[in-house]
């Protein structure tokens, strides 16, 4: 196993863990705001780690660049959509969860 393969393995596993944690958070957190928080962590960091792991295995710089572009687009869309959902929830009068 070469060094890049080991790195890929570590990055993909870490990314998968973020997605798992994000999904558990999405299912278990008490209100829409905390669920959004969990979801965006999985989307942003988890996908970033997966993209980094796959980029190491890419055949060319162009392919790695395309992977990176996907991540940037998801960052952009994810952050904006999370904001829009949160604003809509506030406008409907959904109160933030308090212990």
């Amino acid at each position: 196993m070469s060094l890049t393969e080991i790195l890929t393995f570590i990055l993909l596993t870490a990314g998968a863990l973020f997605f798992l944690a994000g999904t558990v958070g999405l299912l278990r957190f008490p209100d829409v705001y905390t669920r959004l928080h969990a979801l965006t962590k999985a989307d942003n960091v988890g996908l970033g780690l997966v993209v980094a792991g796959l980029a190491l295995q890419a055949e060319s710089w162009a392919a790695a660049g395309k992977l990176l572009l996907i991540w940037v687009l998801v960052l952009l869309a994810g952050a904006s959509v999370a904001h829009l959902v949160a604003v809509a929830a506030r406008q409907r009068g959904i109160k933030a969860w308090k212990q």
Binding site: L73, L76, S80, H83, L84
Partner: protein, 325 residues
């Protein structure tokens, strides 16, 4: 190698089961909003299934049209339903009890539906089982004749050349759908709305990129997965995003220019067919020397028309030109 194939089979199994479960949930959900969200999710899984079946063209179309734009159309239809008759359709109310008379009326209808579906299932099963185990199919013919088609992507060769009239009729269907929607609702005066800073910034970044991607898909369709429908769907998505941010077509575009853009795809297709017939060929029988150019011409016009048609479907009613005021 063994473990890789095993993992792939396990992934395919999970994918298939998850897709069937999502579709069932979408059908069985009493809450329409939930059903639409589940439908969009099942569309995305469906696109993954097409990828696994080595059909990237259909995967692209499914993700862009099936999951993306159909989902957006369903959501906007639901919003109209709810604003239209707020009292009749209650949303997010799973425990609502139906009036007994309504339930009784539905029972015979349900049995009729079950019988018809059973017939359909048996017929489909019989058709699948009666297929010859190894049929050569038509892919050999396509590969043999790909040289004269003008493109190197077999899917585009079939859609735009060998079976061009199918695509021609599909363009007509899309146009008819929009005409139907426009005839059902009166022209509305368009009002621009302010989107707020986040949506505004997102649209400013994404819309140019979406237009670029649409152009790329159109160009790449000649030799790789892509083509007019995928490119048109991406263009339509840019239109939907613009409409969501509150942008409305100005009065100068809403009249004749809009209508010309809408019929351009079908118009160019038919014009090419007629010109070819006038030169003594059959309908849509391209001469091999400039088949590629003709296909690109038709696809470019079709992309624009498909994109604008999908965005117009999302808008719903005919945009008013302000002339009747």
């Amino acid at each position: 190698m063994e473990t890789v194939t095993l993992l792939q089979s396990a992934f395919d199994l999970v994918l298939g089961v998850a897709l069937l479960w999502l579709v069932w949930q979408a059908l069985a959900s009493p809450d329409l909003f939930r059903a639409i969200v589940l439908f969009i999710a099942s569309g995305l899984l469906m696109a993954l299934v097409w990828v696994r079946l080595d059909a990237p063209d259909i995967a692209l179309a499914e993700a862009a049209i099936g999951a993306g734009l159909t989902g957006a159309l369903l959501l906007v239809a639901l919003a109209r339903l709810e604003s239209g008759n707020e009292t009749k359709i209650s949303h997010k109310n799973d425990n609502e009890v139906e009036a007994p008379g309504v339930a009784e009326k539905r029972v015979p209808f349900r049995w009729l539906l079950v019988t018809l579906l059973l017939f359909l299932a048996v017929g489909l099963g019989y058709a699948v089982l009666s297929l010859p185990a190894q049929s050569p199919g038509l892919s050999d013919y396509v590969t043999q004749n790909i040289k004269i088609s003008g493109v190197s992507n077999p899917v585009t060769a079939v859609l735009l050349n060998f079976r061009g009239y199918d695509t021609l009729l599909e363009m007509a269907v899309l146009l008819l759908a929009l005409l139907g929607v426009w005839s059902l609702s009166a022209a509305t005066e368009q009002r621009e709305a302010s989107p707020g800073p986040v949506l505004d910034m997102l649209s400013r970044l994404l819309v140019p990129l979406l237009i670029l991607v649409a152009g790329y898909l159109l160009w790449a369709g000649a030799h790789a997965p892509g083509g007019a429908f995928q490119a048109g769907a991406v263009l339509g998505a840019a239109g939907v995003l613009l409409l969501l941010t509150g942008w409305r077509p100005g009065a100068s575009f809403s009249g004749l220019p809009l209508r010309i853009t809408l019929v351009m795809g079908l118009g160019v297709f038919i014009a090419v067919g007629i010109v070819l017939m006038l030169t003594g060929r059959r309908l849509l029988e391209y001469p091999a020397s400039f088949a590629g150019m003709l296909i690109l011409l038709i696809e470019a016009a079709a992309t624009l028309s498909i994109g604008i048609t999908l965005a117009a479907l999302f808008l719903g009613s005919r945009p008013g030109t302000g002339a009747n005021r």
